[in-house]
Symmetry: none
Subunit: 216 residues, 4 copies
DNA sequence: GATTAAACGAGACGGTACGTCGAGTCTTGAA
DNA sequence: TTCAAGACTCGACGTACCGTCTCGTTTAATC
């Protein structure tokens, strides 16, 4: 997102320390007071950076916010331990943790969508931000798809179920709760969700795997 | 949202025509230019209403937007025809249609979250808006739960599946696509989703019901 | 300012207690926070009076303010003890005291014109208020003129000096200091002023009168 | 009022053309409709200046008004021709002319205090405006004092009269009439006033000077 | 006693302007 | 060229306060 021109360009080179200072400050503001507290002037002042410099790197406050967030909040990845139940559950838990972080920035009440909501809105305001976010999710989707593919081949996942749909059934409820209903998204919910989704999608033997039968 | 106290209220009563004019104008602006075009001054002027009056009823632009939207975009309800597959599919389709409307206000590209994203952000900015939205969804959730309960009793829905989770698995992906991935949410997707979710949740005979086997 | 038509009018008569309550409250607000604190809504609420009622009596906040002020701040009159020096000095001192009161409303610093300035502005905004104020001053002017006339006849005041001018030379500096320069207006200044003005206007014997030679 | 730092300041320098445009427009509005017509939004628009820029220079509408006025209405100075009678008369006439300008802005009736009244009120509302105005008058006062001092030395002005008081006796009535009584303040009045004040303050020979005996 | 005229309390309403906030651009001088 | 500083534009928001209007209620004089 920042710079990296290849050929040594004329003139004074960009100070890479700037990126760091700015993103740190911005993250701090986001943590403290949420999106509303992310004020460009404030960021510039605290980071001892000119607004010009700032805008040279991020064309918009929204872009800055996205940069901060993608840097600080890990994007849930899909592990591959060989146990699809376990891996999907971990995937869901990672997602839950990310979303929880979004929720709790700005001293929020833990129910409101918080930062995540603002980023969704930002995606609506700036097509390129939308593209970025969608690309990010597409990457994750592809990763999950690949994992499911391997599960089909090795772990008895039914091949007649729509893998994409299956991923939606896991990711969707997480975001739904985070953004809309405000319901809790913890490890317990993540695991129950994965179990429910996989139930019926896996041929017998796998059913007795990692997640057991569990109860709420 | 407006008034209707029962006991003879003192003072000049609120002019209910104001609500109508304002909401109409606001809706028009939203349709035309999206959330960014919803300008309080403009609304006031076009509706021939003083800004003070406007702020007396909706304390914030966000509140006004929510009012407009809840009035103009029908909230998907859960029908009850006796066929749970069909009913849930209709429910999902209704939701899809609502979300599609959110997406396409303001001449959007049909991929970005559009108005819905802004409302989610608004829910994060104003606790009371969050509460309202959550209450709305809770009402819908309860309605769906009741429908599933009846399905357990009459239509062979397995009783050992978590009904709440089941609803999340339907609503979640819809919102996920609407707000995050930008993927299409049409009748086809809605039906596939419901089929996938119910598959395994219903005891044999029902499987051959309304939705058939279908294909992407 | 209030009412009391002569012939008993039809309908409910005005409640004279209202005037009192309102003026008391208004005066209190003026004292506490100056003209800026004189808020019509606040007055109405504190006096437990409807704004309608209030506006039925004083067509404007400015009118109300004037009413309050003319009720609470005594208008300097011209005494007649037979000693023109003494009487004019007392007159000036009375004026000084009134102006001091204006100055010190609203926790002022004692230099700013305070309430008096606002009333002057009000006189500029509403012709009728201007007329009222001018009439008030005209009345005082006439009174002073009459006093000077008697001084001409009995106390050796030179008849070739312009009495009107003489009054201006006394009143003027008082208001000038109160409204413009912020200089002190106390008894000392009042007396020095009168002495200076009368000096030369009075035939010898009076010069050794009430005010002596004084210094400062 | 504008800038003029000496040391080369960092950052974009203030555009001095802005001051000019704004003050011109504001003056125009004042002339046309008086203080009530001095509308910040209007000024900004007509001067093609952002409101923010405007408020950066004048923190308040009142401050702007004062700036306009001090720029456009010449402040009466004290000439020195060697004839104290003549000079003071000119001084008074200058003051009269200024005050007349204040009175006649906004198509006033020529009796009400007009703009001057509003400025007096402004001085009461904002301590710094009061300070500015008082400083302005203090400067004039000092100038007049100096002139009187020279008159004492060269023109036979009695040294035992209080020069400050003498100035008050000239300035005071002018402002008194302008702000309070609404009486005319023309050259004739100014000259009569000066004559009356100096009469008795000057040792014989000077009495037959510039102003003669005059009549109303 | 019924009617009627006016005052009153409460509070919504219209209108106008003010001052503020924040985003993003532009113009300097210095590195 | 980049950077720091800071002025500038643009646009909207929310607030404040004034004075009017519309109810329903109360008080008294009149029929």
């Amino acid at each position: 997102m920042a710079n990296e021109g290849i050929a040594a360009r004329r003139g004074r080179p960009r100070d890479s320390a700037v990126d760091e200072r700015v993103l740190d400050v911005a993250w701090d503001l986001l943590l403290t007071g949420g999106y509303a507290a992310l004020n460009v002037d404030e960021v510039a002042e605290r980071a001892a950076v000119a607004k010009t410099t700032l805008y040279r790197r991020w064309p918009t406050k929204d872009h800055l916010a996205l940069a901060v967030v993608t840097r600080m909040i890990p994007f849930a990845l899909v592990p591959d331990t060989g146990d699809i139940c376990h891996d999907l559950a971990e995937f869901a838990v990672g997602m839950a943790e990310s979303l929880h972080q979004y929720r709790t920035t700005g001293g929020s009440d833990g129910v409101s969508p918080g930062l995540a909501g603002e980023l969704v809105a930002a995606a609506g305001r700036h097509p390129d931000i939308g593209d970025l976010i969608r690309a990010l999710h597409a990457r994750r989707h592809a990763m999950a798809l690949a994992r499911l593919q391997r599960a089909s081949e090795r772990e008895g996942l039914r091949t007649d179920v729509d893998h994409g749909l299956l991923i939606d059934q896991i990711s969707g409820p997480m975001y739904y709760r985070a953004l809309i209903t405000g319901a809790a998204i913890d490890r317990n919910y993540a695991e129950r969700l994965v179990r429910a989704v996989l139930d019926g999608a896996i041929i017998a033997p796998a059913r007795a795997g990692y997640l057991g039968t569990g109860s709420t």
